[in-house]
Symmetry: C2
């Protein structure tokens, strides 16, 4: 808890091809995040990975037409067989049935315990493929190839893999590290605006919880980010990964500090689950959740009201929702009570204690209700 | 690979109550195996475990009538709620449906990320409960309470958890360590003879692969073990756990040395899967598999024919099968090709290279066919 957050240049090195590498070093599980343009078609991106007879690419039916054949071509020189499983797109498919399709494909073919899995897609594909890699024959290597901004900043670091359960998001999973992450910024060119914004939600998050200067940088560069300027995106992705790696490196099993990465997530998950997976994007839930968590921080006396306005403004400018859907307060509380951060039945929220510093607090139900009411769309009780 | 196997007294300490403790120290995941009589009703057995609001005991409908209420009484002082899930008994229930019952019970109740799971039963319950603990909210603590001899010597060490898949045994799982193992030898009093013998199969295994003197001890004490003499059982369980811990400690992720623990298992799994889970007990498959693997070791010129006779004799005296069921050779080979030890399509067998030393070898299909034929029951081709 004592190591200071390194600044944005010290832990990254520019490669000859213009790509940036963030090295994640968690004991014996060291791996690189490659960030840049043109990575997909650069042969060096795919070299030096664990050798195996079979590679299996897991992707979805939105990403497959765009990138599956390109990735297969790149991997062909490295494996006897390059296979693929194409799942339906969407958070509602991050479930046991999809996982079983991957496992069954592995077992039906020639896959052995050295088979390398490639997660080609967004966070759903990354989480599910990572979990499949974690449990198939008790663990095979996997490579993350995130094609959404959210996945590039959120799923690339931390080793969290999971599937959803009808009773809650990410309730079944494992901590399991990839052997490499390839974040090709060119894949963001095909990303819908709405998903770009969803990714910005997680990027914005890193400011208030860990790095006040980064929040100011985001505010100054938000237009460039929304215009998909590669240089701005490269810095945003790199800095987000660095901050996340710094937090995770000090608390790999989420016993304390790491929970601050869930700023906005307690409220956000309740929105996602309450409306049904797929109604709001994860980043949208987090965005609105950050408004509520900022409001809670203010009402707990930790932050001034102006902080809520500042967060609301940057989130809104990023094209993200700042008003919560109307749900009965008991429904909110029930949904938040299954959150993994909770202990002994009390809901614990990530709050901002000062700009760049977050902590975990409980709060009375009545105060939580006020916070939600203050940012909920008008409508019948 | 260089640390010698410690002898049988150096790593165990007798406690005041007459129980023996084997300390398993795998980096940051240190835990104790308690071995002895009367452990169940000794309050100190259950003290000093991770604190939580909820404990969940997972057991089966054979063990529950014998021990569930006793365990609940012992745990009651330590938790607000002590819950239980009683699964149907049998290897055929070591599947996703049973796992989902456990996960669903946890999510439906007040279980949080500190909830402690207790595996009360044999290897099936231990493997399944351990895997549930590994993946529920990405990992909660669990305690093994093995009630079969097989589970006491085999599941207590090594952190292997898994469920079966229709295409193969233990194909989905994780490496995950318990926080304590309680091996009360009194629970063996209620064990059917057939299951006692199945446990002896794994105990016999540790002789040829790692400790010639232990094989001689087993041969000398087999009658006492079959008569359930507590002192003989205590030594057999302790020494088996020590040997397994020594092997696992040098190779926790099964990259090489650890595979020797699968002596007899490649052939044995093929028998189990080929006949359908539940037809032969796991230990019975391993027993017959050891005869075949000994035969293979002899035919590869590594061991003299007398070694096959010696292994066959001790296995048969233990009440275990030494003749394989008749299956077409292609069926054998197909079943063994999905074994997790394989790489690049070649079947790899654990063979004995000299008494107390095992290794991994491939073998031509024709030789494997001869080995199987030499120990198969007469019948139509």
């Amino acid at each position: 808890m004592t190591a200071p957050l390194p600044d944005s240049t010290s832990s990254a090195a520019a490669s000859a091809a213009g790509a940036t590498t963030v090295a994640i070093d968690l004991g014996d599980r060291r791996y690189d995040i490659l960030i840049g343009s043109g990575l997909f078609d650069d042969a060096s991106t795919w070299s030096g990975l664990p050798r195996a007879a079979v590679a299996l690419i897991v992707t979805n039916d939105t990403v497959a037409p765009l990138y599956l054949e390109r990735l297969k071509r790149q991997l062909a020189p490295h494996y006897k067989q390059v296979e693929s499983v194409v799942l339906p797109d969407g958070e509602q498919h991050k479930n046991w049935a999809s996982l079983d399709r991957v496992i069954d494909h592995l077992l039906a073919g020639a896959a052995d315990r050295k088979t390398v899995l490639y997660a080609l897609g967004g966070g759903v594909i990354g989480d599910l493929t990572g979990f499949a890699a974690a449990i198939y024959m008790r663990g095979v290597p996997f490579v993350q190839v995130p094609t959404t901004l959210l996945a590039q900043v959120d799923s690339s670091v931390g080793g969290k893999t999971a599937i959803n359960h009808p009773r809650g998001k990410n309730m079944v999973g494992a901590f399991y590290q990839p052997v490499r992450v390839v974040a090709d910024l060119d894949t963001l060119d095909t990303l819908p605006d709405r998903e770009l914004s969803a990714g910005l939600a997680e990027i914005i998050k890193y400011g208030p919880i860990a790095d006040e200067a980064f929040l100011a940088w985001i505010e100054a560069n938000l237009d460039a980010l929304l215009a998909r300027d590669k240089s701005a995106l490269a810095h945003a992705v790199k800095r987000s990964c660095e901050i996340k790696a710094w937090v995770v490196g000090q608390d790999e099993r989420e016993s304390g500090l790491r929970a601050i990465l869930n700023f906005g997530h307690t409220f956000g998950h309740a929105i996602e689950t309450g409306l049904g997976y797929g109604e709001w994007l994860h980043g949208e839930g987090v965005a609105c959740g950050m408004v509520l968590a900022s409001e809670l921080s203010a009402r707990l006396g930790l932050m001034p009201p102006a902080f809520v306005d500042r967060m609301t403004r940057v989130i809104e400018r990023a094209g993200l929702p700042v008003v919560a859907p109307r749900m009965p307060i008991e429904r909110w509380l029930d949904l938040m009570r299954v959150d993994k951060k909770n202990e002994g039945g009390e809901i614990r929220f990530v709050v901002i204690e000062s700009l760049g510093k977050a902590g975990l607090r409980g709060a009375p139900d009545a105060l939580v209700a006020e916070v939600i009411e203050a940012h909920t769309e008008p409508g019948q009780r």
